[in-house]
Symmetry: C2
Subunit: 209 residues, 2 copies
Amino acid sequence: MSTNSAGATVRVLLAEDQSMVREALAALLGLEPDIEVVAQVARGDEVLAAAREHAVDVALLDIEMPGSTGIEAAAELHAELPELKIVVLTTFGRPGYLRSAMEAGADAFLVKDAPAAQLAEAVRKVLAGERVIDPTLAAAALAGGANPLTDREREVLRAAADGATNAELATALHLSPGTVRNYLSTAIQKLAVRNRAEAVKVARDKGWL
Amino acid sequence: MSTNSAGATVRVLLAEDQSMVREALAALLGLEPDIEVVAQVARGDEVLAAAREHAVDVALLDIEMPGSTGIEAAAELHAELPELKIVVLTTFGRPGYLRSAMEAGADAFLVKDAPAAQLAEAVRKVLAGERVIDPTLAAAALAGGANPLTDREREVLRAAADGATNAELATALHLSPGTVRNYLSTAIQKLAVRNRAEAVKVARDKGWL
DNA sequence: GGGGCGGCATGACATCTGTCATCCCGGACT
DNA sequence: AGTCCGGGATGACAGATGTCATGCCGCCCC
């Protein structure tokens, strides 16, 4: 159990699947005298156990990871270790990601093309009880509105993303081919596009997929 | 002009668009006593000028960058500064990327989920005249064969990737709609898939797009 | 000079996709 | 009880897409 009192070093967990990036971020944080990276994992489903075992103060989570996403890991951490501060760090500044990260209990949301100095800064701020969110992204998330797709529409769209045909989608999802087309049709209209490919594209880069 | 003689420090240029990753990699390399990161750029089209200005020994290039790709930058460097060693570092281990990186004059090809230690090691090896390539990837590149698509097919497929309709592609590429369909049809057959969406997918993750 | 290949085009045809109207069911809210 | 919404389905229809045969041009190579 760590105390987080002034002067003590912050115990950080790093979750990121690309080793080179992960170890590089560790090196970066290692330069800060008040921060210590005490655990590194490459999969979302190893986050909770590692956080428990190493009694970490702050978890730094990438979203795109095998096993489970950083968002899911954040939700688990928030439920099991409510004291723990969570920083979500991701490649894509998708408004939907920000929204779901916050709903999962994240304290900070950073994109990887922000200056590196913001990383250590964010760690310190969340520890002080602050929340850290890129204002531009926050605006986009609020303006963009919530995900308009129903669960089923999202499922079907996700399944259709790789170019599967309607018949294949139907068998894969245990639906009638006609129903698949109906869901895709409504999704297409809700997203104001003209075919499934465009629908996949916009849903993806809003973080709705 | 640097000498690269034993004992001298290696002058490295880092090209990577995501600041956080770039600065983290710089921190990582900074830990090595014999390596010095003397220049950092975030765009492909700034690589050549920076390499000239800072008299670098090794250029470390990400592929996915705005301006121009790391591959294109590598080709420029190789033509203008043949002495310079080039390490291509990328997120995706696509065989096609490896192939074109090598054709562009790269001396090493690393994927970001290799262990971080390989980065400094690769820098030293290329400087010693060695070539560094992941054997698994090399095998895949050789087995996978060359890109079977013609220039036009690739162009059309790339343009179709975002879900544009045939008519739109036709006007965008100054072609007849029928011709667009012909190209897509041949591309679909060459890639042994059943529609444009799948064609885009497989072309993409072979690095052929 | 003939053959092959790539770029470009057309027309015909079969299938796939997207839309719409319409239906049934169950849960939630008034 | 009535209404709305989401899940699931059917059938009909128009338009988009994929295939194929065929033709023309220009280039390169034997």
